[in-house]
């Protein structure tokens, strides 16, 4: 005859044993993981073992532009920078021009090999592109913008530890911190599969943007999937920590402010919208006074603008492209993008509101890093010329690791809605 107490004791014993087994398995697993990942994580790419920012470029100030002489240099300034110098009392220091940009040999060879094969279809999509610069001699605005899209930027690209200083009209600032990962499906030259990771839905690229500060947005992450098909808009998933789930979002929201800054999601990195969502035209080719190279990596800023002595301007050859979004109610009526003719990166941008009034001005201080052929941006500055405020983004200094990295072997599996969910709480 079973005794009730014995049965309860046996149950307790089974429960304890089960828990013991579970604990042992867990501890073993934990130890295995810890050992497997002990040590420095370096990725698998060949060009990733870079520490710290590029070397600084010295030199003397060639001339200054300020309120007193801005009219003399007006034709070499963007509309936004001209307005800033006149109305915000900015002073800019112009140095000698140094044209040192050179993409990696593999990229140059791919450009030559596939020259003439890429083309624009009737819907504004890019066809028959394999690798390299798609249009070495662009004739149209959209060709110039696909050069921007497919400039050398690595098979994958990542930066972390980025600070966004958001300046209000009163000169007070608040802070946002975050990072960015990008995975290219096309034009891959260093990491397998090369040159294309082919998928049934023809993905062009995936990127993740995330925030780590302040407390109420920490853990927010946006996954964007961009397709080659011009008729297929971006897919977006956002992990929102306060609701603990991933929410599908619409591309129509890309005109919204990024984290309360003066940038929209489409302004990220200069321009991160879909090229075929716009009508483009080349409106000029000229020399422009634009930020290039660095005199310091600790760009100081106060009262909405960086310190003049911390920013270096040069006279740069640019291609000026006007872009109008095909959505009638898009936040900007047009963008004027100044593309650096050497690297195809965006040097500066003027943005106009829905009434056609000059609204914002963006400038990006680039510096070429010959160690990995990366165009290193040590900050982004977006100025709201109507609201008289700004967002200044600076890359936080790290002593023991690279600040922006290419070709580290990011895994395509990490760009999925469930994975971005696991990064947060």
């Amino acid at each position: 005859m079973q005794i009730r107490g014995d049965k309860t004791a046996r149950e307790k014993s089974r429960n304890r044993f089960g828990l013991l087994i579970a604990a042992a398995v867990t501890v073993t697993f934990v130890l295995a993981c810890a050992n497997a990942n002990a040590g420095e994580y370096t990725g698998v790419g060949p060009l990733n073992k870079i520490k710290g920012p590029p070397p600084l470029l010295g030199g003397a100030v060639k001339f200054r532009v300020d309120k007193s002489n801005v009219e003399t240099h007006k034709d070499k300034l963007t509309a936004g920078l001209y307005k800033q110098i006149k109305e915000w009392d900015r002073v800019i220091n112009v140095y000698d021009t140094v044209r040192d940009y050179k993409p990696p040999v593999e990229y140059q060879e791919a450009t030559e090999k596939y020259k003439g094969s890429a083309r624009i279809n009737k819907k504004g999509g890019l066809e028959n592109y394999t690798a390299g610069l798609p249009f070495p001699d662009p004739k149209t605005g959209i060709e110039a913008m696909y050069n921007y899209e497919y400039k050398y930027n690595g098979d994958d690209f990542s930066f972390t530890d980025t600070d966004f200083f958001i300046y209000s009209t009163t000169g007070k600032s608040r802070l946002l911190k975050g990072g960015y990962n990008r995975f290219a499906y096309q034009g891959r030259l260093f990491l397998d599969p090369k040159p294309t990771l082919q998928t049934s839905d023809n993905v062009e690229l995936k990127e993740v943007q995330w925030l780590t500060y302040p407390e109420d947005v920490a853990g927010l992450a946006l996954l964007t999937v961009r397709y080659q098909d011009p008729d297929k808009g971006d897919d977006g998933w956002m992990y929102i920590p306060s609701i603990r789930r991933v929410r599908r979002i619409s591309v129509a929201q890309r005109g919204d402010s990024f984290g309360g800054t003066d940038l929209t999601w489409d302004d990220y990195r200069g321009f991160s919208g879909k090229v075929s969502d716009y009508t483009w035209k080349i409106i000029d080719k000229k020399e422009l006074i634009a930020q290039y190279h660095a005199v310091t990596w600790k760009m100081r800023h106060k009262n909405r603008v960086p310190f003049s002595e911390d920013v270096r301007y040069e006279l740069r050859p640019v291609i000026v492209v006007e872009g109008v979004n095909k959505l009638k109610d898009y936040v900007y009526s047009k963008r004027i993008i100044y593309l650096d003719a050497d690297s195809w990166y965006i040097s500066a941008e003027d943005l106009y509101d829905r009434r056609g009034t000059l609204w914002k001005y963006l400038e990006i201080p680039w510096s070429f890093d010959p160690r990995n052929h990366n165009m290193f941006a040590y900050g982004y500055c977006m100025y709201d010329l109507i609201g008289k405020r700004s967002t200044i983004i600076s890359i936080r200094e790290k002593q023991d690791g690279p600040l922006q990295v290419l070709n580290t072997g990011l895994k395509v599996d990490d760009f999925s809605p469930s994975v971005i969910q696991t990064w947060g709480r």
């Binding site: 697993f29 993981c33 497997a36 500060y213 297929k232 603990r244 789930r245 619409s250 800054t261 469930s418």
Partner: protein
């Protein structure tokens, strides 16, 4: 007669003041990071104070609070820390301590001592877990919140963690009222479009917590002082387990299917040898979700469907008052961001329809928490509007929103809200919760139809 202060209260206030002092002293950007940035500490101090704006109309709880009485004044300190041992091994903890001053504002006879002891002071780790990654496998072990589903405002697939409705009903962010459970969650990413998830809550069951006797959000019969909860031991036999498969079909239709075997967190009156208790019988929930972006309409569509096998219903003709029936529940939602000529940001318009039906009911089956209700169906419509003004206030963002939920039997809930985020640290919210319905216990809005309130939510975040 007001209660006198006590050492716990004094200690709590002292701690709050200390944290405030440290927060301001540390300057504009308070960052607690140690160990080369691998350890982070952050949190907030928060006070929510609500005032009743309608006289009680009798019968369903909360009557001790008259018009203009403070229904809630709760101050909380939440601290969360995370430590990344390496990129694939992270530990995380979130602790919260709270003090509800409502108990000091009311006469000592308003609440049983047990209710005050349970609710006045909170001191617990709401979550405490480790994250492990090994290639495509992710494991989260420990006390955590696990959220499935696509719904806002009501829950179909969000069934793993119960809710704490004691202090402020379901009127707060669910992250703050979802009860963490010790669980093992594993997600295996087969490829970017396919992952498999297993969830096991091995030994713990917790029901949804209801306001106790005398509290503002009391529902008669529930909570401390009401019908007692059936005792459910901590045992592997009382665990829950389930799994989900999620995939993206083609280039944009995301679907998932799941099965979760669990106890029902909602209470069911049960007549047993020792009398009446609140039971939580097991049920099996088999369901699915979807979401997709329809570009032509610039709209995100999302939905859920669940088939619950053996969900308990009230039936006084049954020996234990419980009749197990199968139910189906559906949700269809649409989110449409749009630019309105009121600001430069997109505004979000969102709509949902919820439908639930109890299948094969008998004449004696009573549904949806109402002992007088025999209607086997429930339909609720919700609408939500939200926009933001990032620069209307210097150094701040203004966010107005409006949420409306309507139960087609004639009950509804409306919540207009305005919040301001100022600088890095401060958030202030002002909201109104209005309810309407009948004096019965059917659904979520009827029982609280007279408990309209206005509340202020003041929060200081630090990191």
């Amino acid at each position: 007669m007001r209660r006198k202060g006590n050492p716990v209260f004094a200690t709590f206030v002292t701690r709050i003041i200390a944290v405030l002092f440290l927060s301001f002293w540390a300057g504009e950007s308070l960052a607690y990071t140690l160990l080369d940035g691998n350890f982070e500490l952050k949190g907030f101090i928060r006070n929510i104070t609500s005032v009743r704006t309608e006289e009680p109309n009798g019968g369903l709880g909360g009557d001790q609070f008259k018009k203009y009485d403070v229904g809630l004044t709760r101050t909380s300190l939440q601290v969360e820390g995370s430590y990344a041992i390496n990129p694939d091994f992270r530990a995380y903890g979130r602790w919260r301590g709270s003090y509800d001053g409502t108990f000091d504002l009311k006469d000592s006879q308003t609440f049983p001592q047990a209710v005050e002891d349970e609710n006045k002071v909170e001191n617990e780790f709401r979550e405490l877990y480790v994250d492990l990654r090994k290639g495509p496998l992710f494991l989260r072990l420990g006390k955590q919140q696990i959220v499935w589903g696509e719904s806002d405002g009501l829950r179909l697939a969000d069934i793993i963690n119960p809710l704490d409705l004691r202090a402020h009903y379901l009127l707060e962010s669910w992250e703050d009222i979802r009860i963490g459970l010790p669980a093992i969650r594993s997600i295996y990413t087969v490829n970017p479009k396919l992952d498999l998830e297993l969830v096991w809550v091995p030994v713990s069951f917790e029901p949804t917590k209801w306001a106790g006797q005398g509290m503002y959000w009391e529902i008669p019969g529930l909570g401390t002082g009401g019908v007692p909860e059936e005792e459910i031991s901590t045992s592997l036999r009382n665990g829950s387990v389930g799994g989900k498969v999620r995939t993206i079909i083609g280039s944009g239709l995301e679907v998932s299917v799941y099965d979760y075997y669990h106890r029902d967190e909602m209470p069911h009156f049960k007549l047993g040898p020792t009398g009446l208790s609140l039971a939580h019988p097991y049920m099996n929930s088999i369901g699915g979700t979807f979401n997709t972006n329809v570009e032509l309409l610039k709209t995100i569509f999302r939905g859920e469907a669940v088939y619950n096998i053996g969900e308990g219903q009230l039936d006084f003709t049954k020996p234990d008052f419980i009749s197990k029936k199968n139910t189906i529940a559906l949700m269809l939602g649409a989110d449409r961001p749009t630019y309105l000529p009121i600001n430069s940001e997109s505004s979000l318009l969102s709509f949902q329809v919820f439908y639930k039906k109890v299948l094969n009911t008998d004449e004696t089956t009573r549904t949806f928490g109402d002992p007088n209700n025999t209607v086997p169906e429930m339909t609720v419509l919700t609408g939500y509007f939200n926009t933001s003004y990032p620069h209307m206030i210097p150094n701040g963002t203004l966010t107005p929103s409006l949420f409306v939920a309507y139960d087609v039997v004639g009950a509804w809930w409306v919540q207009p809200k305005v919040s301001v985020k100022y600088g890095d640290n401060w958030t202030v919210g002002l909201a109104y919760n209005g309810f309407a319905g009948k004096n019965n216990t059917r659904g979520f809005f009827n029982p609280v139809n007279d408990r309209d309130e206005v509340y202020v939510d003041l929060k200081y975040s630090f990191q």
